[in-house]
Amino acid sequence: MNLSHFIDRRKNPKGKSLGNRQRFLKRARAQIKEAVNKSLRERSLKEIDKGEKISIPSKSTAEPRFRLDPDTGKRHPVHPGNKEFGEGDKIKKPPKGAGRGQGKQASTDGDSEDNFQFTLTQEEFLDIFFEDLELPNLVKRSLKEIKATAWKRAGVTVAGSPSNLNLVRTMRNAHGRRLALRRPSTREMNALKERLFELERIAQPTEEQVAERKAVIAELEAMERRRRWAPFIDPLDVRYNAYEPTPVETTAAVMFCLMDVSGSMGEREKDLAKRFYMLLYLFLKRRYERVEVVFIRHTHHAEEVDEETFFYSRQSGGTVVSTALEKMLEVQTDRFPASEWNIYVAQASDGFTQSGDAKRCVEILEESVMGISQYYAYIEILDERELEVFSSEDSGAELWRAYRGFAPKWPNFAQTRIARPQDIFPVFRELFARNKAEAA
């Protein structure tokens, strides 16, 4: 009978093909990036955070082999399922393009000539998406009192908790000490005991043997004493791994997200604004562990809300944009002193506000906000028709014009417009592109 055996491999480490996958993604990087950007434009708010099925031109990852051209020469294939053909029958070929490849449908094939489809995980998707984006002007490094600490290995100590016992060191010390103190080994003792038993078994020992027996017993006792005196492990030998807290340098930054949710913002505008913030939020969450995000939404009255409310709850009312700025300043003075934090503000609005309020906004910006902010981005959400009307940079709604007037004075101020979902991404890139960060 053959020997055979079963092996359960299910518990083997997963992701054996991870290396291959990384190589593949690297290989098709440019195409994948393009596909990711394209797909993001078409995604809904809730889906933005998910993995994605993308499709890239297969040319970049083609594996060419020599193939015979099916449109040349003579072939003699054999097929099954003859119904009415007889020898010598002639059958007209179907016109080129039609009827070809009827067996396997190209659409389900995944590896058809033009495109290659596969799924990116959420990780990979966002990584690629946010590649080379960065917050501009992250200058005030480590101004804030450093809070984060990490435990670092710091040699060994003689005191510690049992869980940190350094077994190797401990045993090594013990071994050295046992050698130095000449602790009798168990083997030596066993040999002597063996000898003793032998001597005791002798019925009528000679005098010599009696003397030897006594000597052996004395020796054994001495050894026992010595062993007690030099134990196998002594508290002196024990060593523990030591850890000490080390401060970790972090950059303290806060991002204020101000959004207009008033009645003048239709569902479409709100959705656009939310998408923008969602993107911003994902970007920050991914890139900066230590960035605080403050969500402020406003109608004629502003309030600080949590992420969930900000993105998913509805509200409407009149519009007073300056309330949001005031609220933001209030939160900022309260919790994020400018001396310790890098401050970023992103504001989205349809540009309409109570008459006179635009002026007030500019005042607040000029007097306090711009002075303390690293970067201020204003995003105006437009109707598609308005986009045509306001084709020039200078014309626009009240707030746009007001901001336009003061913007040139502040290099850390940016304003831009979004009218369609597909604008969001380029605008986002424009605001946070890495080279911009370097230039500023």
Binding site: N2, S4, P64, R67, H76, K90, G110
Partner: protein, 497 residues
């Protein structure tokens, strides 16, 4: 066999499996396979894996050990999406031509499926691998796993040493030539794993003895004089035209460094290892299907599996051997499982109950009773092309309603050249056999000249068969890959035979 006592107790009656049931069922299957069918197999090693691991194995030629390359990642991504979307199911098993013979069972399979798969892979394929002349002669079942292990480590080391891109460039180019990287006619030099490892070990030892830290970053960057002399002697021995492009390039390329030659050799050895499988799809699958069909029925007849299990088995068996007709949207050529199984069942029938027609067509074995012997002889000594030419019976041609077509690209019609009737049987059979002749379907490209001391241009010739040219879509891309390996101009001409 300890199990004989339990002959009539049913082995399993539920879909769930556990290792005890697997073991018992395996023993029952083994008894039939060895004592009834008289198969001769490598020791079996059966591994249970999850569907993700199955996908993993899929994407790298079904091998448990494979070096890393982006194309495997690409195949994995494609297979994964196809599987998740339900376009394709996963194979129930993968089996590896190695000694011991490794079969993978998926954990999702029901107990009946596990039994089927064990019979199919661990005995059917296993017997075929061990006995078929192509495998015996051209592959090294004992050495393949350690060779792949070596290849994987070697390539990983090269990636560390020379960078991913450098390694990738060579592998990409070599992969493009895998179809032209095999010895078809003369026997290939053995993997000679032992020799190779010994040589590498000697080299490592030498390096250790002459260790000098300054040189450490540059191991084997250039070959020493002995190696060069040895290689050039081999090149002088090559008689042109040479059909194995990878072999020629590996030995004669003017620009490759020793590690790059090693990479080319690895790809070439793997291509050669898979070459017999390409030529025996019908026979290999037919053999495995015949064996699992026989064993499952024997289990049922012995009362070892119940009605439920045999029904489940028949359901999946019949979908495995389903042959859509040419005008069916599901049609994508002849199903090797269907053809192989039908032919082998028919051989059994001809042995046991031959008709007049059979006696005329197969005087050698019609009525020969010992169908086991006849089948085993066929499994051992034929490949698809010769097997069909020798054993395809009129009955199978009738059952499949096979017809042959003459398709000349210059005409706007195709002609039916033969059908499954008295006049056409022989021609249909010849045509069908020719479809399994790789020489007809793969481009036959040979090295015809290369002046290594002169212009160093590599001259290749495509020996055209039946006027079929190379497809322009890939031709230039592959030639570019060859130029990467050759380092100088490559000229490819097409010559009508």
């Amino acid at each position: 066999m300890g199990e004989t006592l339990e002959r009539n107790t049913i082995l399993f009656d539920a879909a769930d499996w556990d290792f005890d049931k697997l073991k018992e069922t395996y023993n029952a299957i083994e008894e039939i396979a060895l004592n009834d069918l008289g198969l001769n197999v490598y020791t079996n090693q059966i591994e249970i894996i999850s569907s993700e691991q199955m996908l993993d194995a899929y994407s790298s030629h079904g091998m448990p050990l494979m070096y890393k390359h982006w194309s495997f990642g690409k195949h994995f991504a494609r297979d994964q999406i196809m599987y998740q979307k339900g376009y394709t199911g996963l194979a129930y098993e993968i089996v590896i031509n190695s000694d011991p013979c490794i079969s993978y069972l998926m954990e999702e399979n029901t107990m009946t499926m596990q039994a089927l798969v064990m019979a199919h892979a661990a005995f059917g394929h296993n017997h075929f691998f061990k006995n078929n002349y192509l495998f015996r002669q051209w592959t090294d079942a004992e050495g393949i796993l350690s060779y792949l292990d070596f290849a994987k480590k070697y390539i990983a080391k090269c990636e560390d040493e020379y960078g991913l891109e450098e390694v990738e460039a060579i592998l990409d180019a070599a992969h493009a030539l895998m179809d032209q990287g095999v010895f078809r006619y003369n026997r290939p030099p053995r993997l000679s794993e032992a020799d190779r490892l010994a040589k590498l070990a000697r080299r490592a030892e030498h390096e250790e003895m002459t260790f000098n830290d300054i040189w450490r970053t540059l191991p084997n960057v250039e070959e020493d004089d002995d190696e060069k002399e040895e290689r050039q002697a081999e090149v002088r021995n090559i008689k042109l035209p040479e059909e194995n492009l990878l072999y020629f390039i590996e030995k004669a390329s003017p620009i490759l460094r020793p590690w790059q030659r090693e990479l080319v050799r690895i790809v070439r050895n793997i291509a050669q290892y898979f070459y017999p499988q390409k030529q025996t799809k019908v026979m290999n699958e037919g053999c495995a299907t015949f064996v699992h069909h026989y064993i499952m029925n024997a289990l049922y007849n012995n009362g070892l599996i119940g009605e439920g299990a045999i029904m489940e088995f028949l359901h999946s068996h019949s979908s495995v051997v389903f042959q859509p007709e040419f005008d069916d949207p599901r049609y994508s050529g002849i199903n090797p499982y269907a053809l192989g199984f039908a032919m082998m069942e028919d051989i059994k029938r001809i042995c046991e109950a031959p008709t007049e027609e059979d006696r005329e067509w197969f005087p050698d074995f019609a009525g020969a009773k010992d169908w086991r012997g006849v089948l085993k002889d066929a499994w051992a000594n034929f490949r698809d092309e010769s097997f069909i030419l020798q054993y395809l019976s009129p009955k199978v041609m009738r059952d499949f309603r096979l017809f042959a077509i003459a398709d000349d690209a210059k005409e706007n019609f195709v002609a039916v050249s033969a059908i499954h009737d008295e006049r056409g049987f022989r021609r249909v059979r010849e045509r069908l056999a020719a479809m399994y002749d790789l020489g007809v379907h793969e481009a036959n490209i040979q090295v015809v000249a290369a002046d290594l001391d002169g212009d160093r241009i590599l001259h290749l010739r495509h020996e055209m068969h039946a006027g079929r040219k190379l497809s322009g879509k890939t031709r230039d891309a592959v030639v570019t890959h060859i130029e990467t390996l050759w380092g100088h101009e490559v000229k490819l001409e097409e010559k009508a035979a």
